[in-house]
Symmetry: none
Subunit: 207 residues, 2 copies
Amino acid sequence: MSETRARGRRRGSPDTRALILDAARERFAAGGFAGTTIRAVAQQAGVDPALVHHYFGTKDELFVASLALPVDPRVVLAERLAVLPDGGGEPDDPAGGPGGRMLRAILSVWDDPELQPGLVAAVRRFLEPGGEELVRSGFVPVVLVPLGELLGVEEPERRMPLVATQVFGLVIGRYLVGLDPVAGMPADEVVATFAPTLDRYLVGDLP
Amino acid sequence: MSETRARGRRRGSPDTRALILDAARERFAAGGFAGTTIRAVAQQAGVDPALVHHYFGTKDELFVASLALPVDPRVVLAERLAVLPDGGGEPDDPAGGPGGRMLRAILSVWDDPELQPGLVAAVRRFLEPGGEELVRSGFVPVVLVPLGELLGVEEPERRMPLVATQVFGLVIGRYLVGLDPVAGMPADEVVATFAPTLDRYLVGDLP
């Protein structure tokens, strides 16, 4: 019976998980999120599609795992947001609104030296030729818009991409290209500097 | 002898230099800096790789040359700023301040189909590993800070990098990754959406 198994498709093992992730990265990079199926990933990995579902659940979850992010941004940001004060009692504090809370959660992840290299690598992949499809059909609906819903943002499809432009530029300046003074600012100063911008995109008046 | 020459690969001439630069701009825009070889540029231009080295030296120098030809950002932005109304008479127009003027100038350059490929290639080069040096020792002192001085910004070394984070993120969303709704917005809506952010970084209160 083990002989039969050995001749058939691979069964679950620690290596199988890595094999599926490698296949997913190649398929998503080549075909984008929308153009990639669980079945195609399974075929490339030489495993049964049921095994992909067993390890990773939905295509959304497989995509997040394939980004090789050191963390699932939806989970970590939800956790960090949950323990942050919402600043609601201090209306004069420019960093006390939703933008300040989001920025503190983002910085607490990005400033973590264990997580930063994987996040930098993920951003670089988004920005390579071909990465636009991963952003548009993967990152936006799977990470960005759900994060807005988590924060209770109205019209998240409209407002969260505005947030993303400022956060992407901040992250690139601070962590990828070392743009001073943004790169060297203490986290509190980053939050105070950029929170009013995010507040306007998240809850303010827009044209 | 001229017959032999005519049958072989093209030899040096003023046109050859332009031909190589055209090919370089296309290759860098399509494949990024790391994904482009001197050999591929030479092949596209129909010349010998040695001729590319003869005219431009290293790949870095070819890249810089390929950027310099389509647009010197300081010259082009100065020209476009000079012909734009400063909006000083309409204090209620959120796009009438310095941020709105700067955005209109930037969009008029980036939305120009002749200039866009070279600009996209430049941004990709900035974001690749190793590009940080090009940003810190090239873009910031040569383009960013002088542009702030041109606009009469106080403390340009402090304020212009904040502007750069938002403009970088906007440019990446609009031109590199096609992030909706930013990618599809009419220029006027982009200006109205982002001008208040730039006004605060350029002339507003900061922490």
